[in-house]
Amino acid sequence: MKKDFILATFEDDRQVLAATKKARDKNMPIFDIYTPFPVHGLDEAMGIKRSILPYVTLAAGIMGLMTALALQIYTNSVAWPVIVGGKPANSIPAFIPITFELTVLFGAHTTVAAFLMLNKLYPGKKPHIFDPSQTCHSFIMAFDKSNVNADEVSQLVKEHGAVEVKEESATIK
């Protein structure tokens, strides 16, 4: 669905950070800010909720650990018990390396998959780019026009050093 946006372009990360803090103080909802690199503190200033990724990693890691133990215990003591080096069929210490590796394997790949899904990133996606410089050197603050007072916004961002303020309607996937 198309939305109308007010876009403020900054060329300095410190200015966009100051503007974000001010906008939050004044209760102006920010739609998003597009930056070429992670600006420290900007996510906090925007009030973004803490990422749920660590919990995904924990759950997937536990899954990996259990899969590894189940696989090794089942194959060694149920499906086909073979005595190797005089060890008992179920020798847990010998299973630790693979258990560790599968914990990491499941944890890492599931977290990456969750990251891609949370941000709706996939091959062939054509994102809406407001300005090609948003992945190079400019910091673009986007406000949803229906949520804010256009005049207040443009005054605030100009006070903080925005080099350009414009309006554009776009569909953000």
Binding site: P54, W80, V112, F115, N119, Q134
Partner: protein, 460 residues
């Protein structure tokens, strides 16, 4: 979050470069025609890769009897080369994961190239066990899968199988870690290029990255998680490689010191190779402002540390061999130093223990030519370390009647040279077609150590 950065620190990026210029410095090379140096380097590497491939086809179709192995020495060049390449693969993850956790911000300029090297080195390493199987098309036998061979399972109590899991996990996790880090820079290429083809290709690989702060927030958490997972992973990989030897009963292999000793050696050899390549790359690509003398110096310090740890391990294992009172163990070590392979042992000692000690001097650490020469010695020394451990332990063990000598055949030599061809071909393709420096990350450390750290004046 407050940053506690000393004002005394040296800036990591030259103060006069704007964000735009930083992108240009790194990405312009992708859009220009390849230079002559690149074309020559790439062609030579591709030539060696082709020869290597032909040699692999020959030995697989003839059988690995064309190697110089015999009944006594069942592992030699193949496993030496395997451990050598896996070891080199350790520096990339150390730089991108362990240094991230330690907040060593200088790593941003070199982590992309170092991690690419990790992936290429692990790919080279994987070839050797694969060829050693003799019938590489049955390589899937190493994975546990339900089957009709009498419900036969792989041996989960064998370190060789642990290796299968460790190396595959390491390769795939390093690959996604590296690829996720590439997303913002691929998007940069997509948005600045004028060529339609390039836009389509880089756009497809950028997965629709738009630089949203919400995405960046998840991205930073993801990097930290992957770094946290990769740190114990990288330590586990060489630990498990060392188990291949340490869990056996061969004198010279059966020692508890192997895991830390192998990990230190891996980081040592990896940094050697990273430096060898980066000293050339920074010059050829004109990246001396980003990969600075300071970076080289910091890596030299890691080389002294790990080189000295490796030296300590050599001394310790020799002492323990004597102190254990075990005549076989004692003989294995005396034979290493003074037996028929004495020259390999002393090459190892002089390259790995003596040569890095020059880096105690600041002047030498900052002399690029000198550092380059020493890193070549480190590469050679670490190859010999694996040769010494593997071959000299096997060639004379318990029964003198089964003692033997080993020398490689031309097939083994060319296979090894072929993997260098593979490694360098991939590296040349990498610096030509992908952003060789993580620009987004370097931009984020632009203010590090610079004078204008206080916030700019806001008119309000």
């Amino acid at each position: 979050m407050a940053e506690h950065v000393s004002k005394l620190r040296q800036p990591l990026v030259p103060e006069d470069r704007t964000y735009k210029q930083m992108s240009e410095d790194v990405l312009d090379t992708l859009e220009r025609k390849p230079t002559k140096a690149w074309l020559i380097g790439f062609s030579v590497s591709a030539l060696f890769l082709t020869i290597g491939m032909l040699v692999i086809v020959y030995q697989v179709s003839t059988g690995i009897g064309v190697w110089g192995l015999n009944k006594t020495i069942g592992w030699s060049w193949d496993i030496t080369n395997f451990v050598f390449w896996v070891g080199i693969g350790h520096a990339g993850t150390l730089i991108s994961a362990i240094l991230l956790i330690f907040r060593q911000r200088w790593r941003t300029a070199i982590n992309r190239a170092a991690e690419a090297m990790t992936i290429f080195a692990v790919a080279c390493a994987g070839l050797f066990p694969l060829i050693h199987m003799g019938r590489p098309w049955l390589a899937y036998f190493v994975f546990p899968y339900p089957n009709t061979l009498g419900s036969l399972w792989v041996n989960f109590k064998s370190p060789l199988l642990w290796d299968v899991f460790a190396i595959s996990t390491y390769l795939t996790v390093s690959l996604v870690f590296w690829y996720m880090g590439l997303l913002p820079d691929l998007a940069s290429v997509r948005d600045r290029t004028k060529s339609k083809l390039r836009k389509a290709i880089y756009g497809a690989f950028a997965l629709g990255w738009d630089g949203s702060t919400r995405t960046w927030h998840h991205f930073e958490v993801l990097s930290l998680i992957l770094a946290g997972l990769a740190t114990p992973l990288v330590l586990s990989v060489h630990t498990i490689v060392s188990f291949d030897f340490a869990t056996s009963v061969i004198p010279g292999w059966h020692t508890t010191i192997f895991p830390p000793y192998f990990v230190a050696g891996a980081i040592f050899s990896g940094f050697g190779m990273v430096l060898t390549l980066l000293i050339i790359t920074r010059k050829v690509m004109n990246w001396e402002n980003y990969i600075t003398v300071g970076h080289v110096e910091a890596m030299c310090k890691v080389i002294i540390l790990t080189g000295t740890m490796v030296g300590l391990a050599y001394g310790t294992e020799f002492f323990i061999a004597w102190y254990s009172g075990n005549p076989y163990e004692r003989y294995a070590f005396i034979n290493r130093a003074f037996g028929p392979y004495w020259w390999a042992y002393w090459t190892m000692i002089s390259c790995n223990v003596i040569s890095p000690q020059f880096f105690w001097f600041k002047k030498l650490r900052r002399n690029m030519t000198f550092v380059f020469i020493i890193t070549i010695f480190v590469n050679i020394g670490m190859w010999f370390e694996r040769f010494v451990i593997i071959t000299t332990s096997l060639h004379r063990d318990f029964l003198p009647s089964s003692w033997a000598m080993y020398s490689p055949t031309w097939v083994e030599i060319w296979t090894f040279i072929g993997t260098f061809g593979l490694f360098f071909t991939l590296f040349f393709l990498f610096i030509r077609f992908l952003p060789g420096i993580a620009i987004a990350e370097v931009k984020s450390v632009k203010r590090y150590g610079q004078k204008n750290e206080e916030p700019v004046n806001v008119i309000a």
